[in-house]
Point group: C2
Chain length 457, copies 2
């Protein structure tokens, strides 16, 4: 099964300019190899690192890129394109190579997440989809990893589907949050597509559809005795908790155990303490407390600091849209064409030229110390190269790791990231430098451009 049920044959899911530029390249017989580099230009507020995610979807897109008959008919009907170019599109395939950070890699601003090398027309066509796919999952994986860190070992579940920005995002959020350590998601289709664990509770509507709250509780636990989480705030948290206690006793009489009660509104620290006390007083210390309602890393940290007795968090909307940073300043830039390193000079947006590699240096204890961005084939002693070849000749070169393997890989990565960069507020900048080779080439290309500009003006 493909990783993304929505990502197949979306050749037209692109910006019009990709096709008009392609037509120009075709017209000019420009088929030389181009390298594009995907990277994040700056940290949004409070981010001290990023987590690479979304690679399988990007590669799957490249492997299956095809213009269908109906796509070509639509393009023809626009009246913009010459028949010869449309004939060419019929047979166009992605034939290039990709170097990329494995999913779950921790990386920093300016570092290439992936580099695509292919005939310029093919590499350019892929821009829109690649940026979209990688930026969404990288943004969510980064946000979700902060929630996992804030929860200090308490399990987290993704409840965001209803308010993600569309259904594709709903699937990707479930996947990316699982990648960085969430226990699972409420999203059933994500469970089916990605094989991740699914979880659920009950809605307020379920409670209010019964004459009494306790009737709703009883029906649910009789149907799902091993999956029962009772939502107790529909009318009042404490009276809800007393009804849950009653039902838990009835369950115990049948040899069953109530799993969780769920808080969804009010002062979480205070209410969780009262509910914990009430449960403990009744000998129900095995019943755990799940909390939902506006949680992200900031609110998790805040309620735990306030002494909340919460065992698990359902994390929804704010994680699912990356509320405090709903986009990343990510770019896919041409860095080399026909053997010539290239860059743009636009105000504040200078790019790093040529094909690159990121080398990571560790302290003796295994903690990450610093990174160096280098030319791809530059010899640098002592560092571990992070970008790996993942596609050649338009084909994935070896089977991609499974989602669970990536999840384990991320866990190892995160353990090596020093604590200060994990700070939820204002983390420091991790040290990233440029290699001597890259600095020299960068400066040469920039000088040549400035020189030409002066000559022309």
């Amino acid at each position: 099964m493909p990783e993304c049920p929505l990502g197949e044959r979306l050749a037209l899911l692109t910006d019009l300019y990709q096709l008009t530029m392609a037509a120009c390249y075709f017209d000019q017989d420009m088929h030389d190899e181009a390298t594009f580099s995907l990277f994040i230009r700056k940290y949004p507020a409070h981010r001290g690192y990023f987590v690479a995610a979304g690679l399988p979807e990007a590669l799957h897109y490249l492997e299956t890129l095809r213009f269908k008959e109906e796509d070509l008919e639509y393009l023809e009907a626009t009246g913009l394109f010459k028949p010869r170019f449309l004939d060419y599109l019929k047979t166009v395939r992605f034939t290039g190579q990709v170097h990329a950070l494995p999913e779950g890699t921790i990386f920093f601003k300016d570092e290439p997440i992936l580099e695509v090398s292919a005939p310029i027309l093919e590499a350019q066509l892929a821009e829109t989809f690649i940026i979209n796919a990688v930026s969404l999952q990288t943004m969510i994986a980064t946000k979700a990893s902060r929630a996992v860190y804030a929860a200090q070992g308490r399990p987290l579940i993704d409840f965001s589907l209803r308010r993600t920005q569309g259904v594709d995002a709903g699937l990707k959020v479930a996947r990316a949050s699982y990648l960085v350590g969430f226990l699972g998601s409420s999203n059933v289709l994500a469970g089916k597509v990605y094989g991740l664990p699914i979880f659920g509770t009950m809605a307020h509507s379920f409670i209010t559809s019964f004459p009494q709250e306790i009737d709703a509780f009883r029906v649910f636990c009789r149907n799902f005795p091993n999956l029962t989480t009772l939502l107790i705030d529909t009318y009042d948290n404490l009276s809800g908790a007393r009804n849950a206690v009653q039902v838990a006793r009835e369950m115990a009489g049948r040899g069953e155990r109530l799993g969780f009660v769920r808080l969804d509104s009010g002062d979480m620290a205070a209410i969780s303490q009262e509910v914990r006390q009430l449960l403990d007083d009744q000998g129900l210390d095995y019943v755990r407390i799940l909390a939902s309602g506006g949680f992200d890393e900031f609110k998790i940290a805040q309620v735990l600091a306030a002494g909340a007795r919460i065992d698990s968090f359902a994390v929804g909307t704010k994680m699912g849209v990356s509320d405090d940073a709903p986009y990343f300043d990510i770019a896919y830039k041409l860095v080399k064409y026909a053997g010539r390193p290239v860059m743009k000079l636009s105000t504040g947006k200078v790019t790093l030229v040529d094909q690159k590699q990121v080398h990571r240096y560790y302290e003796a204890a295994g903690r990450m110390a610093r990174d160096t961005i280098a030319l791809r084939h530059e010899a640098l002693p002592g560092g571990s190269p992070l970008l790996r070849p993942v596609m050649a000749g338009g084909q994935i070169t070896r089977p991609l790791p499974s989602l669970n393997e990536c999840r384990n890989f991320f866990q190892g990565e995160f353990a090596r990231l020093p604590e200060e960069y994990k700070a939820l507020q204002d983390p420091p900048f991790y040290p990233v430098s440029l290699s001597p080779g890259l600095r020299k080439l960068q400066s040469r290309v920039e000088q040549e451009l400035q020189h030409r500009l002066r000559r022309e003006s």
Copy 2:
């Protein structure tokens, strides 16, 4: 062609609890009619109104809701559900009715966007998808309408696809922004699916792939003489503008006219004035200036206030993710079951009971004056009812208006909205009251619940 190529037969794109609650309803033979109401609980910062959008997708979902064989196999494999319930799911269809605001309607907080009435199991199952579909397009239509307002008649184009939260969002953003007056989108698939106009310029990579900027300009305008927008900031805005002037003269010599130059970085007010001057000095007053780069309603208003000479804006990421309000506090709540009006009391989240209607009152000049939320069948003199029956027996009752009809409808609506509610910063609250009938019923149900709570505790 369906309105949404990604929205079909996504029965599993739901929260697990929808299915476990459904299993409970099925187990209890609870098939009475339930009404759920979809509404926004509060205004995000700076929003004074909302624009209803996303209805066709929600209705299409309801009409085509089916559990496929492979869906049922997955649910069976979870081990959670009884065979009798899975057999039932095989044949389940949405058979209910929907009342809704037509797309493009301006509405306010607490007002129902739509109300679904159906056997409770069917109406509950649809919750996740309906919230997701309506909230995304409503949020984007609202944000985009503010950009249109800020641009004071200048055409806007959606350039957000690369950074929307997923590919589904990319399509919906193109659609919702067109609905409220954008001229079109760069998104080719949206052009094909929704029949909206598509536009494009060129990328920095196109410029840098040629030895000289002017070579890139020349190739593009020879291939697309009627569609040429020259991106002039790759190396330096003014030297780019001088190259554009040269190319525009060459085009004029061939009887062609350069359409636009595009600014993408730097101080937009200052640069646009310099570029305008340069173009005018060369007799190129017909060449217009398009600006892109971080625009939303706030930046558009700011650069225009600073005297920018910009004719058209490409509006991307910040509109496409609704940057300053990336989600709405939207809820789908049970308001009536088996003839009984119901509500929840959770702290700060009280819901309005029963089936409702919104009545709008206008001033003599046609300007909107105030709204009243009433019981659906309550007689209220003088107001115009906003919610209309759109689905009965699980079928759309009459053909939905086309996207262009909705676009015209919105334009009329927006013209009737008094200026103060359109303010980009801190608009006042539009007056919305509750009818006598609704107030009375609301208070009776709330008292009965409070009474029962006191009795139980």
